[in-house]
Symmetry: C2
């Protein structure tokens, strides 16, 4: 596999990340997960806009212009002959002396990896509501894709342990925020509803498209709202999955519904 690292395409087993990189030592970085379809990166403008928003929040310099970033993404697609699959762009603060308070490094680290992956099979998801941890709606990190992801990992492990395929995370106030790596939509009274970003939902690239196409609304949703939903689904850049049960209670009749089918057309 060939990866892009700081301006060069290199074999993955030759790519070297410095052990003092703040991405490694402090989770001080951003990422984007980008679908590849027909040998092209999908929704790059939206992904790069969000990367820019995150860079603004954590004051991280993006070392390439938008066109150069797109070119680097395409280079990784071509180098690995990815017709359908996933790119992962990771941007970190770069190598620096130890400590939160160390001076800002001269050079951020920009890494792009890619792999072939079948994106068509988006199986129905039975989920649980995570009890291990919660989203922090008081942190701006809930609104950007940072590499400090350990809360999501804890929730994913809990889901796997409880025999589910994903976990929904509550925020500190006890309201629904999102799934471990996807946004939540529920259909209530025929309309699609999704938790607001202020409740700890990631402003997902696919979420934005689904929101527009379905004329969805944003509002605070508690776990009790799931019982009045006729259907629900999870969205991320890689696709849209029906959410068919939560904590072993079926959503609606427990089958994928028509609004989910409508949403899936836009992928």
């Amino acid at each position: 596999m060939t990866v892009y690292l700081n301006g060069r395409l290199v074999a993955d087993d030759e790519a070297r990340i410095d052990p003092t990189d703040r991405g490694l030592t402090l989770g001080d970085g951003l990422f984007e997960t980008i679908a590849v379809r027909g040998r092209r990166a999908a929704r790059t403008d939206a992904h790069l806009a969000r990367l820019g928003d995150g860079a603004e929040v954590i004051r991280l310099a993006i070392p390439l212009a938008g066109d150069e970033l797109k070119e680097a993404l395409q280079d990784v697609i071509e180098a690995n002959a990815i017709d359908e699959g996933v790119l992962r762009l990771t941007l970190t603060r770069g190598p620096a002396p130890r400590g939160l308070w160390s001076p800002v490094p001269a050079q951020p680290t920009l890494l792009i990896t890619g792999a072939c992956q079948d994106l068509t099979s988006q199986e129905p998801v039975p989920a649980v509501i995570a009890t291990t941890t919660r989203r922090n709606e008081h942190s701006p990190l809930s609104g950007i894709k940072s590499t400090s992801c350990l809360d999501g990992i804890l929730a994913a492990r809990e889901a796997a342990k409880r025999g589910a395929n994903d976990a929904l995370l509550l925020n500190g106030a006890g309201n629904l925020a999102e799934a471990t790596a996807a946004n939540l939509f529920v259909v209530i009274d025929g309309g699609a509803v999704t938790p607001p970003v202020d409740d700890g939902a990631m402003p997902g690239v696919m979420r934005a498209d689904v929101f527009r196409v379905l004329s969805a609304t944003e509002r605070t949703l508690g776990p009790a709202d799931l019982s009045s939903a006729s259907e629900a689904f999870l969205t991320n850049s890689l696709g849209i999955r029906p959410l068919t049960a939560v904590d072993r209670e079926p959503i609606g009749d427990g089958n994928p519904g028509p609004v989910t089918a409508e949403a899936r057309k836009i992928v």
Copy 2:
């Protein structure tokens, strides 16, 4: 500089972290910051116990036994002739395919770096209360030293921007949790008080020692409690710093106090 990486001592510019390491891509790791005094690592039993607690929370395998870890720490001290300074032990999940949900990697990454540093000068700290972000007392990550540190980085940047030397973080409920990389003690009615771990305070190694020696108490502290404090200080493994002002309001008379001086004797 020589570092320890996965069983070997290597020159830092030859040490290679794999670009797929989940420590880099997802903040999926733990760390300990350990003082070196008299060419020995300080409080290693307490640090390794806490590392073990964190490994239990995130289900991460520690690849060496305690004695072997201590030997590796000492090897880094000797290789770099560190009489006084700091060791940084970083343990990550290791290289893995993309995604929160990817299978658990076969081999974690264990990295130890070290540097000489003067630990004697612990200057008085004027701090601010961070408004950018908060500690998540609903997450078990607040009780372990994970490498998903970006909230602390945001708070540190805010402090620097506002001309302060540290930031105090509130939790979601609006109570005091800790500083960016240190625990908080305040002296009220002659007694030392520190926020409980359940309020989002890290169970600091130095915090535990100070707590015992000063017969301190744990209780929930709001920002308003700072005005009734006669003195305050911040503790971490590298030392104890007087906290002399918060948001430009002096703590007590704005000078380091006698309880702080007493605490500093135990370093």
